[in-house]
């Protein structure tokens, strides 16, 4: 069970009681305003206590919250969407939703990783873990976008690429490497938004973009906190510590020069007001696309190159140079 879901329970129960009192007050024509105001104050206090400041591990769980809006929900709010399927080779991977779309009237190619919203959908989309077929569909759509001159919009949400036998047999590494390559060579503007969990190379395959937007409680991580704890702390239960060490929050992403913008979430998380969150995200994407629209392909490629090139080089104070035999 997701710890955030646990903590929410009392709050949700309190909210229900407030609603009940309001209904009672209206239908029975009794004045309960004092009681209601008291409960509302308590609600706000508890909400602030729980969600006012979240630890990294809590934010990981917020990013994984089962009610959190998924890629499909963002895509549903676009002005138009026509899904395109398949890698042309092997299979259509339902863990990737992709196609032509209009975002605030602008024609784009959109690609999203789809986490399941319930068990049935999770089985269908493999818990949002994309197979090589899925990445090859992604690559195909990136190349299509570049060919037609359409900007690329991605929604990132996966705990990682599928680690199954079939995925290894069908060259998962090559599939991810090809997505990265297609984004690197693309000649159109691109914006990725991390809407939930940005897990490792399987997430970055959709993320080598001109701009990176993160939702406040989304995460971007080199490895899952559980895996990192198991390997580095030799103790999988130390995931909360690992989550803190990994510096995987949206705030960290800004400090480390990776995220270009963070979209605030309602207190309690994006799922507490899906429509407003989605609205903010789409506005932000459109703002970045509008800014990039006049750029030439050469300028886009040069800026993108510099963006990722400068992440690193932590001790080198002088410009790198060649050194001969010594």
């Amino acid at each position: 069970m997701n710890p955030i879901v646990d903590r929410e329970k009392g709050l949700i129960e309190l909210g229900r009681r407030i609603e009940e009192l309001k209904t009672l007050s209206a239908t029975q024509n009794v004045d309960l305003s004092t009681q209601i105001a008291a409960l509302e104050a308590e609600y706000a206090k508890i909400q602030q206590e729980i969600f006012g400041s979240l630890t990294p591990w809590q934010r990981v769980n917020m990013a994984r919250h089962p009610k959190r809006p998924t890629a499909a929900e963002y895509i549903a709010k676009l002005d138009a969407f026509d899904e395109l399927h398949g890698d042309r080779f092997f299979r259509d991977d339902p863990a990737v939703i992709a196609g032509f779309a209009k975002l605030r009237g602008r024609r784009v190619v959109v690609v999203g990783q789809q986490r399941g919203r319930d068990t049935k959908e999770n089985v269908r989309v493999n818990f949002g873990m994309v197979t090589p077929e899925g990445y090859r569909k992604v690559r195909r759509l990136f190349e299509l976008a570049s060919h037609l001159g359409l900007p690329i919009v991605t929604f990132v949400d996966t705990k990682g690429a599928d680690p199954g036998i079939g995925s290894e047999e069908r060259a998962q590494s090559e599939a991810i490497a090809s997505c990265l390559y297609a984004l690197a060579e693309s000649r159109v503007p691109s914006v990725s938004t991390i809407v939930g969990e940005g897990g490792s190379g399987g997430a970055l395959a959709l993320g080598l973009t001109d701009r990176i937007i993160m939702l406040q409680h989304s995460i971007y991580s080199v490895a899952g906190p559980e895996a990192a704890a198991a390997i580095l702390f030799s103790d999988a239960t130390k995931a909360p510590e690992a989550a803190a060490s990994l510096r995987l929050t949206s705030d960290d992403a800004v400090l480390l020069g990776i995220a270009d913008e963070v979209i605030g979430e309602p207190l309690g998380g994006a799922h507490r007001d899906k429509d407003a969150t989605i609205e903010l995200v789409l506005n932000a994407i459109e703002r970045h696309l509008a800014e990039l629209a006049p750029w030439t392909p050469e300028r886009l490629q040069e800026a993108r190159y510099r963006k990722y090139r400068q992440i690193g080089a932590w001790r080198a104070r002088t410009a790198p140079s060649e050194q001969g035999p010594r």
Binding site: E168, E169, E174, G207, I311
Partner: protein, 287 residues
């Protein structure tokens, strides 16, 4: 062929107190180090391939000298990482053990007469993991080779992205991919040699972005680690799973080469591509 002086000095601590014997982890045989080296670091009894140190690999490949690139790019501790030990301590001890400052050595040298940009990863330094320094050095290698219009040969050996550098390590997949893409877009030629093991973020970026993907015999190559998959599927994987030969059958790589034939094979592969490029008008297409 003697080891160039600069390489010997880089190996530092390791060469000063040489143990005479190595035990084969596969068959248990005790082997003279000098015999092992003469046999390309392949067990004389069972054929087990020992993982090679980057300087040894470089010496086994280059005709003469090797000009190192990016040695000044040294690791820091961008996240202030501590697990059971602080990250800087781990770096320091690997530095002492390996004589290397990071998990990849990059530079220029001649291989069978062809001057190439050469990169060799070293599994003995942090499991060959890629942090910001590996990313920077690999990107720099492709950038400098592009300026000089030289081919690149890159030996991979990596457990993936380096966790101790968090998101910054992950972003090295993007950085290196861009450098490869820009290099290839100019019509230049890139050969990757995947050695044991090549997994995770390195496998999912520059390892599989080469024109020709060679694998050393028996090397484990994949995206997910063997143990992760076994935990997921709750059964043991067959022994050949994710081995170079398995990948060849599944169409993922161009060829499997035995270590003693690696240099001559590389020289032939270089000859095809470099010879062609001399008279070619590359079309800018990437693949």
């Amino acid at each position: 062929m003697p080891m160039p002086e600069w390489l010997r000095s880089r190996k530092g601590a390791q060469t000063e107190e040489p143990a005479q014997w190595m035990k084969c982890p596969s068959c248990g045989e005790l082997l003279y180090k000098s015999d092992l080296k003469a046999n390309h670091e392949i067990c004389m009894k069972c054929g087990h391939y020992f993982r090679m140190h980057a300087p040894d690999r470089i010496v086994s490949l280059v005709d003469g000298d090797f000009t190192e690139l990016g040695a000044e790019i040294e690791p820091g501790d961008p996240l202030g990482w501590v697990d059971k030990r602080p990250y800087p301590d781990k770096l320091q001890s690997d530095r002492e053990k390996s004589g290397l400052s990071e998990a990849v050595v990059t530079g220029f040298g001649a291989v069978g007469g062809f001057t190439v940009g050469l990169g060799v990863m070293d599994f003995y330094f942090r499991g060959g993991t890629m942090g910001t320094v590996v990313g920077d050095r690999v990107a720099l290698l492709f950038e400098r080779a592009r300026e000089r219009k030289l081919p690149v040969v890159l030996f991979t050996a990596s457990g993936g992205a380096r966790m101790e550098e968090g998101m910054l390590a992950l972003m090295q997949l993007a950085k290196t991919t861009q450098a490869v893409e820009r290099f290839r877009r100019d019509g230049l030629y890139y050969i990757a040699v995947l050695t044991d093991p090549t997994t995770g973020g390195v496998s999912a970026s520059f390892a599989f972005q080469a024109h020709v993907v060679v694998a050393e015999a028996g090397a484990a190559i994949g995206f997910a680690g063997r143990r992760v998959i076994e935990q997921t599927i709750r059964q043991k994987l067959p022994e050949n799973f994710q081995r170079a030969e398995f990948l060849l059958e599944h169409g993922a790589i161009d060829m499997v080469v035995e270590r003693p034939k690696l240099k001559e094979t590389l020289v032939r592969l270089l000859d095809y591509g470099v010879g062609a490029a001399q008279g070619a008008s590359p079309n800018g297409r990437a693949r």
